[in-house]
Symmetry: C2
Subunit: 174 residues, 2 copies
DNA sequence: CTCCCTCGGTTCGATTATCCAACCAACGAG
DNA sequence: CTCGTTGGTTGGATAATCGAACCGAGGGAG
């Protein structure tokens, strides 16, 4: 029995950059980026709030913020006309990063410290409030992803990125 | 109505380092680290395999590998006696990072490129193989986490990290 | 009007990390 | 003995990061 998530695939090595993990890290993998997203998600929208919440140097923070705006993860929204000031808010793409933060939070709670320092709770649909202990579940079959064998396959788009030939053989193989 | 994951909490600013997200990034947030985990998870255990798979410079890779071993995320396991060679494998902590990779993969598929380059499939419990489209679901109530309001609260351990007083008031408040 | 404060950044110089090519040691094959 | 493979190190150039100081537009108090 093979470990979950470790399985032979139709390829040995992904071409560099073909993997969406690498593509994501290209956009949000630099230092402070994810902590900035966390601060904004937690309601700290102003420059000085984010400085205080992350502890990042101001110049790095300014650089990250404009990079994240350029990447479409954050947007600048004015909150005062005089003096003209604006804060940062999550776009749809930014909100979609929250699972990444949730995953990092859960991992850190478990492996990076003795006791969690922050507890997250929710009360979905009127149920009683309770702490969150989340797992990845496949929307298609409803089963936890991490407990099953996973296989990976290079798509035609991936082959194109890789500069590999897109053959009938590959288009049909499984 | 407040956006999910954006909600008032009992604290305005988390002390730096109190948050497990920051603690996680401290261990695996540096460049190449998560790509190394990806390679190892995908079955590339040897130094030269990981060089090829990630494209990282050899010296950076050596540094990351020993850091990840020191952090308890990877372990070195010999695969040949003569010549004495060893490869890198995921520990339990390392396998627990896979949700982070899954989250980054899904985000990248959606926001960082036109078409996914790699398709992940699984066939849990003898069902037919199908692509993975996963979401975070609370183990307690079975509901998707991202669709409900989430509140955060500093635990006593978090207060201690923050240097804040641990009062009865705070221990009981909600 | 003047002085001082806040906010959202920039600028500067020093430190640190990263990159890349070359090198090295251990071993096996031929 | 030489060659190729593997798993790294080393050295020097380049780029990112840091921390503190600075700046400019605008209040508000006096």
């Amino acid at each position: 029995m093979c470990k979950p998530w470790v399985m032979a695939a139709d390829i040995d090595f992904l071409p560099r950059g073909a993997c969406s993990i690498a593509a994501s890290l290209e956009l949000v993998g630099e230092r402070w980026s994810l902590l900035v997203i966390r601060e904004v998600a937690w309601g700290n929208h102003r420059f000085s709030d984010i400085v205080r919440g992350t502890g990042a140097p101001r110049d790095r923070l300014a650089a990250r913020l404009s990079a994240l705006v350029a990447a479409g993860v954050l947007e600048k929204r004015p909150y005062s006309d005089s003096p003209p000031r604006s804060g940062y808010h999550l776009t749809a793409a930014g909100r979609d990063l929250l699972p990444v933060l949730q995953a990092l939070l859960q991992w850190g709670d478990r492996w990076a410290r003795d006791e969690p320092a922050v507890r997250l709770s929710h009360a979905p649909g009127g149920t009683a409030e309770h702490p969150i202990d989340a797992e990845w579940v496949c929307r298609t079959c409803g089963r936890p992803v991490m407990e099953s064998r996973v296989s990976r396959e290079l798509t035609p788009a991936g082959r194109a990125l890789a500069g590999l030939p897109i053959t009938e053989e590959h288009a049909h193989e499984h």
